[in-house]
Amino acid sequence: MHFVPNVAGVTIAFGVLASIAATIYWMLHPPSTASDRAATATERDISEIIGSVIIVFSQEIHSEHMLSLAVRLARRERAELLAAYIIEVPRTLPLDAEMELEHREALGVLQVAESIGRKNNVEILTDVVRTRNVAQGVLELAKRKDAHLIVLGGYREGKYTGAPMARAIEVIASQAPCDVLIGIQGNKGKILTPPVSDKRSKTVPAEQPTQL
């Protein structure tokens, strides 16, 4: 049997379809409460504020545990993320002196940063900065890159647990031209403390010889 659609039938058919679709759409978009609106405004402010984020590494600033957090923040806020490894060159050496161990350490750390970024679909820019003073190096970098946020990890290496904030961190925090986010791993913390297997870069002090 062949069926020829009737105008009234076709109109009702589309009417049913449209009314059900409209009803479901309307239902799934309920009005927001004051708390929802406040939360949305705060998030919007953050997304406007956070334009570029620098995550800093150095011999005394271990930010590996902050990487994942920074990457997620950058992804969510679509911020630019720069992972910078600051190499402090002693004044006895020229600024461009070859510092093989430190450089290798920097490459390793930045590779991990890139890998985390790739997994989270965030493009991370990396940079190795040579400077006479870590704190000054970070501050200059932040100024140069017009950073909105500097992310730093605390200094927790067993014997220093009583003073997790290295001197450089204190200087950066007090003189930074932008916001500074410092993450300190708790003794039994779980959020910022990576699993044992991931502690390579943190537990191998940069001062020790590294197998190349």
């Binding site: 659609p5 058919a13 049913v16 009803t23 239902m27 799934l28």
Partner: protein, 548 residues
Amino acid sequence: MAASVAARAPAEPSLRRAVTPWGSFSWGYSDVGADIFVGLGLVLGAAAGASNVAFLFAGLVYVCIGLAYTELAAAYPVAGGGQYFVFRGLGDIFGFIAGWAVLLDFTIDIVLFAWSSIDYLSKLVPILSFTAHPWVHFVVVFVVITGLALLNIIGVRESSAFNELVSGLDIVSETSILFFGFFFAFQPQLLVHTMQLSWPTTFNLMNGVSLAIISFVGLESISQAAQETQRPASVIPRTSISLILTILIFALSYSNLALGMQPWHALPLDAHGHTQPLWRYLGNEENNGSAVAVLASYVPYFGALAALYVPLLGAILLLISSNSGVFGSSRIAYAMSGTQLLPSAFQRVHKKFRTPALSISVFCGVAIVELIFAALPSLSPHVHALYARLFRGEDGITFLGDLYAFGAAASYSFVFIALISLRFNDSQSPRRFKMPFNIPITFRGNRVEFPVVAVIGFIGIASILVFTMITHEIGRIAGPTWLILGTIGYLFYRRRKRLPVFRSQPHDWRKAQINILQSAGELEMMDEYLVNIRRMDERRVAEHIGPL
């Protein structure tokens, strides 16, 4: 005491607010959405060419009911639904009667939907057919009810995600059936012709209207999930209104399509060898339990696919609805027991499974008794003759429909009165949603809004209750008997416990309301409520002291 129970709630582990807008909707949809699968065939069988009119009348009453439930569930986001609203608005004894009527509905819900679920499955597995193999059908429904009872005692429930998935699939499926049905095969002139030629008698139209209301029962579910819904005051009005609209669109569309659709294939001849129209074929004893699946199979082109999956989808949705009857009855009994409307035994939980095993067993037991009454005429020719003499030969599913309509109409009637009462006696509670068309008046110094739609709804549902009493031989006897026996039991229990028999116990509703809003996360409403009651108290003090 409700107030003290609510007062303790925040300190104790409470239900997690994890139900999203879609979750809240599907919670209600898996209950109400299943009704049309049962109601369509029954209404077509009774109201014939005026089935669409019967659905329209019941649908308008249902809109009023839905608006009432929406207002109350948003103002009092607490598990309990209609029973709680009546308890709060009209006091203990009416709270009991409304809850007892809801319990009747839940027990019928268990049987009716399990019965219809098997009817739908029989379209794929013919041995389950009620007309061809009544004993097999009876045994399978019995096993299903017993199985659901055991699963609920053990504590196994379908997951919310499963509910949401089935509801989503069903909405897509039903919309597709209607879309293709209207698109390819709807003939307006056939609809007019059928309505003119097959217009029923007034008695049958009343019967059809009273059966049509069963297509709209189940809004309770959204109210009962209120305590677990995120931002209930803003989400529940949306989900309730969406549910009302969706079900109304489906019910009106199905009834008009059934009356005005040109079937894809020729229909089988009737028992007398005559050709029959589609609506009559859908409403006969063989198909009235699975009318949506049969209709879907006669939709041009799409019917080829629909015939394969609609029986299964319908059976699953009906099974979920049946299970919600098992769960809901034990939950209501538990809540009523907590407010000393039922003996404390109904609050007892199983030592091992931590479920209200006694409540589940009792109400599933009642459901099985109802099943036996419904199935007897088909199992025994003697009983069939007896039913024919006493009850105009009502068949099993119509018997269940009778009681379902009675329980729903009775409990909804009380909900309307409770809403009016609460507007007067609890005008301080903020209402994020109000039924439209209100008349502002002053009552005891308070400005209140008299809900006109609640009065219209009450008249509508009361008339459906009257239709049920007039047209349903069994419902007329069994429904009131259930309520009378329950009320006698309540009076006896309250007297034995030395509790007020006809009056209510003292309740601290203010404290209860603050705790309800606080645990609902509706802090703005709580602030508004506190301001309202402070103003009222100040005014009362000023009136009492007089001008300085």
